[in-house]
C-alpha cells in the first residue's frame, strides 16, 4: 500500500480534518447541540459578572418567592437564595467539573496510551493490566467512600474521577497507536532517522485525534452528570452551587414549588443530552456516513427477467444479462457487474478468470443468493436446471443450497465458526439438508473427512477450527461442500490462501471429487495455472463483463480478447505453478465481498 493510498483510506483515523468540519457545519444536530452547550457554559462564566447577586445569599423574607418577584426573575428557593444566580453558578460548576474530569482522563489516557501502544510488548502488557484494574473500580462508590479524603471539594473529586474515566481514552489511543505503528509511514519515518518522540508526536497523534474528540464529548457529559449526582447525594461543600444540590433541594420541596425542581433538571438535562448528541454527531461526521442498515439474505428481485432463445442442450447453470450494483454515497446504484452471460454444463469444470475487482466473486455469490445485504441485482437471470433462482426467498433458496449448489470459500480459517468443533459444524449442516439421524450424519462426516484426505478424522472431528492448519481447514470446508453430493460446486479461489505445496494437493482433491461425484464446478480464480490444471472451459472477466469464453486449450493457444492476451503474456514468462497476474488496485466494490 502506498502512502498515498493510506491517506485516502476511508478509515476515520485518516479523514481529512477540513471535510469533517464542513460536514459538521452542515449537520443540524451538531450545530444545535454545540450552540446549547456554548450558551450554558457562557452563561455560567459571564452571567455572574452581569448579575451581581450572590448565589449563596440567603434571605428568609424571599423564601420560596415565585418567579417574577422583583429581584428574583426565576424566584427564590427555600432559604430565599436567588434561583437564577444559583443556576448560573451551577452551570459554571458543571463546566469546571467536565473540564477537570475529561481533562485528567485525556492527559492520563493519551499519555499512557501512547506509551502502552508504542513501546515494547512488556510496557504494553503492564499498562493494559493497570487500566483494566482501573476499569473495574466501582467508580461512584469509591468517590463516595473517599469523601473524607477529598473534603467535599468537587474539583478534587473530579480529579480522581478523571483517573477513573481514563481507561476509555487509554484504550482508544493504544489501539490506534498499535494500528498506526504497523503502517508503512511510521516505518519510513523511522528509517529516515526521526526519533521515537517525533514519530509519536507528529504521525500518531494526528491519527488518534478524531476518535478521542468523540470520546471526550461523552466523558465531559459523564463527569458533569456524576458531579451533579454526587451533589444531589449531599456530597460536597454546600457553598458550591450545583445542579445536583438544586435538584435535591427542589425534590424535597417538590409539592410546594415544582418549578424549583424543574429549572435545574431542565438545564442539567439539556447540557448532558447535548453532549451525548454532539458526541454522536461528531462520530457520524468522522466515520464519513451513517452505516448502511444490514439486511441480509434478501436481494432485490430482478427488474427485468430476460427471456431466453432456444439452445441445443440446456446447461445446468445458465446466467443471462446479470447485473449487480451497490448504492453509492449519493444513493444511486452503481453497477459493478454489467450483464454477464455464462453457462456451466453438467459435469464440467469452468474456470472464471479475472483480476481482483473484475466482478467474478460477485457473480458467484449472485448464483448462491449470498451477495452482501446492500447489493442490488438490477437485471438478469440465473437459472439452475431451468428454474429461475433470482427473486426466490431465502427459504426457497435454502432447498438448493448445500444440496444442489455447494460453495467452497477462499479463506479457510474465517469460514469456520470458531466456537464449534469441526465435526459438529459439518454434522449440523448435513442434518439441515438431509433426513439423516445424528449418528448417521456423524458417520457420514467421518467418512467424508477421511475421503478429503484428513489423516485422523476422529481427532479432527473433535477439534476446534483454530486448532487445525489452513490446508486442513480447506479440506474440512470441501468435505462440508460435497457432503450432499451437489450438482454444482462453486469454488471461490479455493487455493489462493494456501501454501504452494498444499495448493497442488487441494487441486488434486477437487479433480478427484469432481470425477467421482460427476458434479459441475464453477471455479473462480485469478490464477491461469489453476485453470490450465483443472478446467475444460474458461470465461475471462474484466471490469464486470465477460470478455471471452471458450475451451481452455483453445483460449490459451489463440486468445481472442486483448485483455486475455495481456493476462496470458504477463504470466507465461513466469513459472506456471506460481502465477499471480498483475493485480489491479482493489476498488471499493471488492471490499463488499
Amino acid at each position: 500500500m502506498s502512502a498515498e493510498q493510506l491517506l485516502n483510506d476511508p478509515d476515520l483515523s485518516a479523514t481529512p480534518r477540513r471535510s469533517v468540519l464542513r460536514r459538521l457545519a452542515r449537520d443540524p444536530q451538531a450545530i444545535i447541540t454545540t450552540t446549547l452547550i456554548l450558551i450554558i457554559v457562557a452563561a455560567g462564566f459571564l452571567g455572574p459578572i452581569f448579575l451581581a447577586v450572590d448565589p449563596n445569599q440567603a434571605d428568609l423574607r424571599s423564601a420560596n418567592a415565585l418567579p417574577g418577584t422583583p429581584g428574583h426573575p426565576l424566584g427564590a428557593d427555600q432559604s430565599g437564595r436567588d434561583i437564577l444566580a444559583r443556576l448560573l453558578a451551577s452551570a459554571q460548576t458543571s463546566a469546571i467539573s467536565g473540564l477537570i474530569g475529561a481533562g485528567v482522563a485525556l492527559v492520563v489516557g493519551v499519555t499512557m496510551g501512547l506509551i502502552g501502544g508504542y513501546f515494547g510488548r512488556r510496557t504494553s502488557a503492564v499498562t493494559e493490566w493497570v487500566f483494566n484494574l482501573v476499569m473495574t473500580f466501582p467508580g461512584v462508590l469509591l468517590l463516595i467512600v473517599l469523601t473524607p479524603v477529598t473534603g467535599g471539594d468537587y474539583r478534587f473529586t473530579m480529579l480522581i474521577f478523571g483517573f477513573m474515566l481514563s481507561p476509555t481514552i487509554f484504550r482508544i489511543t493504544r489501539n490506534l497507536v498499535m494500528g498506526t505503528k504497523q503502517e508503512l509511514f511510521v516505518d519510513a519515518a523511522r528509517v529516515s532517522g526521526l526519533s521515537n518522540t517525533r514519530i509519536l508526536g507528529r504521525h500518531v497523534l494526528s491519527a488518534v485525534r478524531g476518535p478521542i474528540i468523540v470520546a471526550t464529548a461523552f466523558l465531559i457529559g459523564t463527569a458533569i452528570a456524576t458531579q451533579a449526582g454526587l451533589a444531589f447525594l449531599g456530597i460536597g461543600s454546600s457553598a458550591v452551587p450545583s445542579f445536583g444540590s438544586m435538584v435535591g433541594e427542589g425534590f424535597t420541596n417538590l409539592t410546594r414549588r415544582p418549578l424549583q425542581f424543574l429549572w435545574p433538571s431542565l438545564v442539567l438535562g439539556i447540557l448532558t443530552a447535548s453532549l451525548v448528541l454532539l458526541g454522536n454527531a461528531l462520530r457520524d461526521a468522522l466515520e464519513g456516513l451513517r452505516t448502511v442498515p444490514p439486511r441480509r439474505g434478501r436481494t432485490e428481485s430482478p427488474a427485468e427477467p430476460v427471456s431466453m432463445g432456444e439452445e441445443d442442450e440446456a446447461p445446468l447453470l445458465r446466467i443471462r444479462h446479470l447485473a449487480i450494483g451497490y448504492p453509492s454515497t449519493t444513493g444511486e446504484i452503481e453497477e459493478v457487474v454489467h450483464g454477464v452471460d455464462l453457462d456451466v454444463r453438467a459435469g464440467e469444470i469452468l474456470g472464471l478468470v479475472g483480476e481482483s475487482g473484475s466482478g467474478k466473486t460477485q457473480t458467484a455469490f449472485a448464483v448462491l443468493g449470498l451477495l452482501p445485504p446492500e447489493a442490488v441485482i438490477t437485471r438478469g437471470s440465473v437459472q439452475l436446471n431451468g428454474r429461475e433462482l433470482l427473486g426466490l426467498s431465502g427459504e426457497e433458496l435454502r432447498t438448493y443450497r448445500g444440496k444442489t449448489i455447494a460453495y467452497i470459500p477462499q479463506e479457510p480459517m474465517s469460514n469456520l465458526d470458531p466456537s464449534y468443533r469441526v465435526g459438529s459444524q459439518l454434522v449440523e449442516s448435513l442434518r439441515a439438508t438431509s433426513t439423516l439421524s445424528n449418528r448417521e450424519a456423524k458417520e457420514r462426516v467421518l467418512a467424508l473427512l477421511a475421503r478429503v484426505g484428513i489423516p485422523d478424522p476422529q481427532r479432527v472431528f473433535r477439534m476446534y477450527p483454530f486448532e487445525i492448519s489452513g490446508g486442513m481447514a480447506q479440506r474440512v470446508l470441501i468435505a462440508g461442500a460435497v457432503a450432499s453430493r451437489p450438482a454444482l460446486l462453486i469454488a471461490d479461489e479455493p487455493t489462493t490462501a494456501l501454501d504452494v505445496t498444499v495448493q497442488a494437493e487441494i487441486l488434486d482433491l477437487l479433480r478427484d471429487l469432481q470425477a467421482e461425484l460427476g458434479m459441475a464446478v464453477l471455479l473462480v480464480t485469478h490464477n491461469f495455472g489453476v485453470v490450465a490444471d483443472l478446467c475444460e472451459s474458461m470465461a475471462v472477466m474484466q471490469k464486470g463483463r465477460i470478455v471471452e469464453t471458450g475451451k481452455v486449450r483453445q483460449t490459451f493457444a489463440e486468445p481472442q480478447a486483448d485483455y486475455t492476451r495481456t493476462l496470458l503474456d504477463s504470466i507465461l514468462d513466469e513459472d506456471t505453478v506460481r502465477t499471480d497476474p498483475p493485480v489491479a488496485p482493489r476498488d471499493h466494490k471488492e471490499v463488499a465481498r
Partner: protein
C-alpha cells in the same frame, strides 16, 4: 480451562488487595480528623493521641494495612467506630437490599438488550432505527430525573406504587415487587440503552463474517445461523460489557436508594463516608471489590464457555 479460571481468580485477588490498599492509604490522610470527630469538642491533644494509639493508627501504614488484611482474610472486618456494629453483618444486610434490586434489573436489561440488539442488527432498516432511537432516549434521560418523574406519576399522582420504602422479598413478596418496580425500571432503562447498543454492534460485526455466508451456503436456515452461531460469537463482547454494566448499576443504585429512601448499600456507604467511619468504609470497599471480582469471574467463565478460543489464552 482450570488454569484460565485460576489465573483470573488470582488477578481478582490482586485487584481486591490493591483497591483496599489504595483506599487505606487515602483514608489514612484523614485519620486525625476522624479521631477528632469521634471525640467531639471535648477532645484534647492527649485524648486524640491516646485514641489514635488505641485504634492502632500510630503504627506504620503498611503494618496497619497488613493487620487489617490479616483480619479481613479471617472474616473479621472490625466494628463501626460510631455504632460499634460489626461491619460484616451490617454491610451484608444492606447489600442484600441493593442486590435484590440490581440483580433483577441486570437480568431484565440483559434479556431486553438481547431482544432489541439482535432484532435491530438482523432486521435493519426501520426496526434498527427505532431500536437505536429507544436506546438513545434511554441514554439521554438522566436516571435521577426519570426516577423522580416516575415517582411523581405513579406514586404521588396515581398512587399505584409506593414512593419510598422497602420490604424484603421474604416478608411480603407483593410489597417487595411494588417497592422495587420504579427503581428497577430506572436501572433497566439505562442498562438496556447501553447494552443493547453493544449487542447490536457485536451482532452486526459478526453477521458480516465469512463463516455466516458459508453456513448459509450449506443450507442452514437463517434463524439457526443467527441464534446458534452468530449470537454465540457476538455474546462474548456483550458479556464483557455486562460486567461493567453491573458495576455501573451498583453506582446508579446509590442515587436511586437516596430518591426512594431505600435502606441499601449506597445509603449506608454515603452515611459512613460522611461520618468518616473508617472500618465501615474499608468493609464496604472490600465487599464491593469482591463482588466485582466475583462478577468478573462469572463473566470470564461465561466467555470461556461461549468462545473456546478464549480458554486457550
Amino acid at each position: 480451562m482450570a488454569a484460565y479460571i485460576l489465573r483470573r481468580f488470582v488477578a481478582g485477588i490482586v485487584l481486591a488487595v490493591l483497591v483496599t490498599f489504595i483506599t487505606y492509604l487515602l483514608l489514612a490522610t484523614t485519620f486525625d480528623s476522624v479521631v477528632r470527630a469521634l471525640l467531639g469538642p471535648a477532645g484534647t491533644d492527649e485524648t486524640v493521641a491516646a485514641k489514635t494509639t488505641q485504634l492502632g493508627w500510630d503504627r506504620p501504614i503498611l503494618v496497619q494495612y497488613g493487620d487489617w488484611l490479616l483480619h479481613a482474610v479471617q472474616g473479621d472486618l472490625g466494628r463501626s467506630l460510631f455504632t460499634s456494629e460489626p461491619v460484616i453483618p451490617a454491610v451484608s444486610q444492606r447489600l442484600s437490599v441493593t442486590l435484590s434490586i440490581v440483580l433483577v434489573a441486570l437480568v431484565l436489561s440483559v434479556l431486553l438488550s438481547i431482544v432489541l440488539g439482535v432484532t435491530a442488527a438482523v432486521r435493519g432498516g426501520i426496526v434498527d432505527r427505532l431500536a437505536q432511537g429507544i436506546s438513545l432516549v434511554g441514554m439521554l434521560i438522566p436516571g435521577l430525573l426519570l426516577s423522580i418523574g416516575l415517582v411523581l406519576v405513579f406514586a404521588i399522582t396515581l398512587k399505584v406504587l409506593p414512593a419510598t420504602g422497602y420490604t424484603a422479598p421474604g416478608d411480603d413478596f407483593g410489597r417487595y415487587l411494588a417497592a422495587i418496580t420504579i427503581p428497577v425500571f430506572v436501572l433497566v432503562v439505562a442498562g438496556t440503552a447501553s447494552m443493547s447498543a453493544q449487542v447490536r454492534g457485536a451482532m452486526i460485526g459478526e453477521l458480516r463474517k465469512d463463516y455466516v455466508r458459508t453456513l448459509e451456503a450449506r443450507g442452514l436456515s437463517r434463524r439457526a445461523i443467527i441464534l446458534k452461531h452468530v449470537l454465540r460469537n457476538a455474546a462474548a463482547p456483550a458479556v464483557t460489557v455486562l460486567g461493567f454494566e453491573f458495576i455501573t448499576m451498583l453506582g446508579g443504585a446509590i442515587f436511586i436508594e437516596k430518591v426512594f429512601a431505600l435502606p441499601g448499600y449506597g445509603t449506608f456507604s454515603l452515611n459512613s463516608a460522611l461520618r468518616g467511619d473508617v472500618p465501615v468504609i474499608l468493609g464496604i470497599t472490600a465487599f464491593s471489590v469482591m463482588l466485582v471480582v466475583f462478577v468478573n469471574l462469572l463473566v470470564d467463565l461465561a466467555i470461556g464457555w461461549l468462545t473456546p478460543k478464549a480458554r486457550m489464552l
